[in-house]
Symmetry: C2
Subunit: 244 residues, 2 copies
């Protein structure tokens, strides 16, 4: 059976202006690979209602799951929750369960609830809350879209809250062989080998190290025997210059 | 006059599997901001012909410029050039100018030309070559799409080759004020202040440092006077806890 598919939507002007380097995509990509869910596409859009709405609609229609990061805080530029409610035609307002979570946390911490903080309790009708063990203000899941915060510590905690509830496919196995020769030397035999092993995905990832070109050849399959056969075939073709 | 707009398309299974952490988006975002070109959207797609073709068509129709990274090497999974030729309905084959560049480089370096390396001379009809001072194999510009390599050292060199030929808008000025208080404390006055300064874009970017919440407030405008007025207004509102 094919693995479930997923997309990520990163929301934030600060990524597109180069002010902030996104780290959530890389984190999520690794987590999904471990969970045998195939991340097929990622997008980054600005803090713009229509851009968020359109991207969520397109991605939710195309893939099994969509994970978003960013734009669910208390400030005027945090418009993700409203844009996503709009994308699904749902009503949105302060929801009592989310407000109660925040109020209890603020009472414990001596923080004053105010109108801005109350914005973080705006949850679309019918959405399920995502637990936030770091700063309490919850994310939410609406249909197949999981809406999470952008601050990495909070995003990562929310991913840990959401993923156990999502069913993955067969775990993907992988082997990497580093070849200290440029891709152009090995591309021909590599292509022939890849064609002989249809159950194995073979990728070549070039690098430059100390001014020399090399390639990491990555073999991926959910079939352990097929994977080993492809690696063995490759090592026969590459008698020199590789490091298993 | 509004700044020119741009999108980035990152092409590569290795980013979506979490094997590789992309750095090209962050680099390009900073370069475009410096050049007064507004990066409006970014996407990451797999090494898949239809995914690349569709994304390029959508992005090229929507924005003034599209910058791609990845998938133009010599191996069987490098399919970007063919997918982009297809996106524009152009014929693609080994082109003599690109072949000559590669041949001269290989002759100088004692490298053998072979069928795989010749793949890197596949350039769509009508495209302009992008200089690659690192490893010679060129990128290309076709209509408003700039097609570049994924290896960061090569991508960055190609961006340096392309950007001087693109006209930017008015340089964007920015000021950042770090506030050592959580966003929820300041969001109300911040929103009122932002509304009073329509020529200035005001963003709030939360962080967690030593278990304490803080926010960087970023002011952006191409009008220096308007920018300073907004910052001054903000500082009046925030008598404590900020670091200019």
């Amino acid at each position: 059976m094919a693995n479930p598919t997923a997309a990520m939507l990163v929301i934030g002007d600060e990524i597109l202006s180069g002010r902030t380097r996104d780290s959530n995509l890389h984190f999520l990509a690794q987590q999904l690979t471990d969970a045998a869910i195939d991340l097929k596409e990622a997008r980054v859009v600005a803090d713009d209602h229509d851009a968020i709405k359109t991207a969520v609609q397109e991605l939710a229609a195309r893939w099994d799951h969509v994970f978003t990061s960013g734009g669910i805080g208390p400030t005027h530029d945090d418009i993700t929750a409203d844009a996503i409610a709009d994308a699904f035609g749902r009503h949105i307002d302060v929801r009592e369960d989310a407000r109660a979570l925040l109020q209890a946390y603020y009472d414990r911490s001596g923080i004053t609830m105010n109108e801005s903080r109350l914005r973080m309790a705006r949850i679309p009708d019918g959405a399920t809350l995502i637990d936030n063990p770091v700063s309490v203000a919850p994310g939410f899941t609406i249909e197949n879209v999981h809406v999470m915060a952008g601050v990495p510590a909070v995003f990562e905690a929310m991913v840990a809250s959401v993923l156990p509830g999502i069913k993955g496919g067969d775990p993907l196995l992988s082997r990497t062989i580093r070849v200290n020769r440029p891709e152009g030397d090995i591309a021909g035999p590599l292509a022939e080998m890849a064609a002989r092993h249809p159950k194995v995905s073979v990728g070549s990832y070039p690098f430059i190290l100390n001014s020399r070109f090399g390639s990491n050849i990555v073999f991926r399959s959910s079939d352990a025997q097929a994977l080993e056969a492809a690696v063995k075939d490759f090592l026969t073709l590459m008698p020199e210059g590789f490091e298993p």
